[in-house]
């Protein structure tokens, strides 16, 4: 085992470099982070510029400008799901998993390197996207809607970064377990796309649905509740982080145990 331990120290940076090379050398995974930013910030700007006025009149005292600042995430996060799924599934779908594991036989090093690179790219994407949403909102939202010196502005901005990052980890983890893009997207897309709206419409399910990762994690991007069943912003984020930890742990376990 002593040889295995010394191997881990040197092998991890090399495995990270390899994962970064893989991600950058396939067009889909190279450009999807850019798509996340473009969709999230682009839709945000449109909503800020054209919807805010009417929304404020309609909502009155209940008006929450941050639902508009981060509105683009409703579409943008789908590109993040696709990114994380494709980084992992591309390895299994193409069969390069055999060459990759022959090159990095320590499965923990392999999975950890892939998850680290996905997380780092999601973090950078989230920071750019969230800053773009927040700063552009200052310009395109009606005067006085948000302030760049207010704590809540930066809480919601941090929320978008954390949400995208945790979402990427969850999607990568699920894909490590399921391996194919169809199965992974089949599980994840309903969860983040349909699950939210459909499930919360059913009375009994509402109380459970609030613990779903996207429901729990999105609350921090808003000041006000959409309905009475929502978790607190920070509690919600902690619940989503819990999902991410479980997904990453499951990925490490299955990758280590299973025959390639």
């Amino acid at each position: 085992m002593s040889t295995a331990t010394t191997q881990v120290g040197g092998a991890f940076p090399a495995a990270l470099h390899a994962e970064w090379t893989k991600l950058r050398s396939v067009p889909s995974t190279r450009w999807l982070p850019v798509v996340v930013v473009a969709l999230t910030a682009g839709i945000g700007i449109l909503v800020d510029a054209f919807v805010a006025e009417g929304q404020r009149r309609e909502d009155g005292a209940e008006y929450d400008p941050f639902t508009l600042v981060h509105y683009g995430i409703n579409i943008g996060h789908l590109a993040m799901v696709a990114f994380a799924v494709l980084v992992v599934a591309g390895e299994y779908g193409s069969g390069t998993i055999h060459a990759s594991l022959a090159a990095v036989p320590d499965r923990r090093v392999f999975a950890a390197a892939k998850l680290t690179v996905i997380t780092a790219v999601a973090l950078a994407t989230g920071v750019v996207s969230s800053l773009a949403c927040t700063l552009s909102a200052r310009v395109f939202l009606p005067e006085g809607d948000i302030s760049l010196t207010a704590a809540e502005t930066w809480r919601t901005a941090f929320g978008q970064v954390a949400y995208l990052l945790l979402l990427a980890v969850i999607c990568a983890g699920v894909t490590f377990v399921l391996r194919t893009p169809m199965a992974s997207l089949g599980v994840l897309m309903p969860l983040v796309l349909l699950g939210t709206t459909a499930l919360t419409a059913i009375p009994g399910v509402r109380k459970v649905a609030r613990f779903l990762p996207d429901r729990a994690g999105q609350r921090i991007m808003r000041l006000r509740d959409f309905n009475a069943n929502e978790l607190d912003p920070w509690t919600g984020l902690a619940v989503m982080a819990g999902w991410a930890i479980v997904a990453a742990a499951l990925a490490m376990i299955v990758v280590r145990r299973r025959d390639a």
Binding site: H17, T21, S25, P27, P105, A260
Partner: protein, 241 residues
């Protein structure tokens, strides 16, 4: 040198590899023969640490694969030439493998040159012919200048020129003192390439002998092989090729 000791792999009820025991010596080409589903690929995957043996072990220079530090510098393998990401350029496929084992980027261009893929290096692997993919897979195996090479069906789908090229390459690799472990269904090709033969069927060892002893006088390798493996052709182990 590759050493296989009491190697066994069971998938559910099926014994895909059943107590195999043999060695692959350095400086020779060892041909690995057996009908479809006889356990050849499973054996190779266990040597590479991809599948876990149910019992026994495969070692390379006395160590199991998972203990090798930067394993591409010790063992190079071509398992499935089709296993490339179609949207990734050929050169990038080699680049990520090289970087995972801290092999210099310049080595990628060397192996591309050696397999004759320099001109196609920046094309996406999805545009490659089967022959080009075989060459890319062989380039990947050569990246770390390894002492042990494992090729699973490297001549599949190649044209005569490509077949001769691989045969000459394999002979020269063994001539440099490397251990070459090669599977193929092409008996005439194996007769021209291998020094030593290991024949298995239904996961069990049938023969482990030099080519000259195996074939004897006045018969072809194909004749002897078919007689030896008669009755095993239909066997399919564990649903895996």
């Amino acid at each position: 040198m590759i050493r296989i000791r009491n190697l066994t792999k069971r998938y559910g009820d099926v014994l895909a590899v059943d107590d195999l025991d043999f060695e692959v010596a350095a400086g020779t080409v060892t041909g690995f023969l057996g009908p479809n589903g006889s356990g050849k690929s499973t054996t190779m995957r266990m040597v590479l640490g991809l599948d876990r043996p149910t019992a026994g072990a495969a070692t390379i220079g006395g160590r199991v694969y998972g203990e090798l530090r930067e394993p591409l510098r010790h063992v190079g393998a071509l398992l499935d030439a089709g296993a490339v990401h179609r949207r990734r350029r050929g050169r990038d496929h080699l680049l990520y493998l090289a970087r995972s084992n801290r092999i210099a980027d310049s080595r990628v261009d060397e192996v591309l040159d050696r397999v004759g893929l320099t001109d196609a290096a920046r094309r996406r692997a999805g545009t490659y012919s089967l022959g080009m993919r075989q060459r890319l897979g062989i380039a990947a195996a050569l990246l770390g200048d390894p002492g042990v090479l494992i090729f699973d069906e490297p001549v599949n789908g190649l044209d005569p020129e490509g077949i001769r090229w691989i045969r000459d390459l394999i002979r020269s690799l063994a001539g440099e003192g490397r251990t070459v472990f090669l599977s193929s269904h092409l008996m005439s090709e194996m007769a021209l390439t291998a020094d030593h033969l290991v024949v298995i069927a239904a996961g069990r060892l049938l023969a482990d002998t030099s080519l000259a002893e195996f074939v004897g006088e006045g018969e072809s390798l194909e004749d002897v092989y078919l007689r030896l493996t008669a009755g095993h052709e239909q066997f399919v182990g564990g649903g895996r090729a």
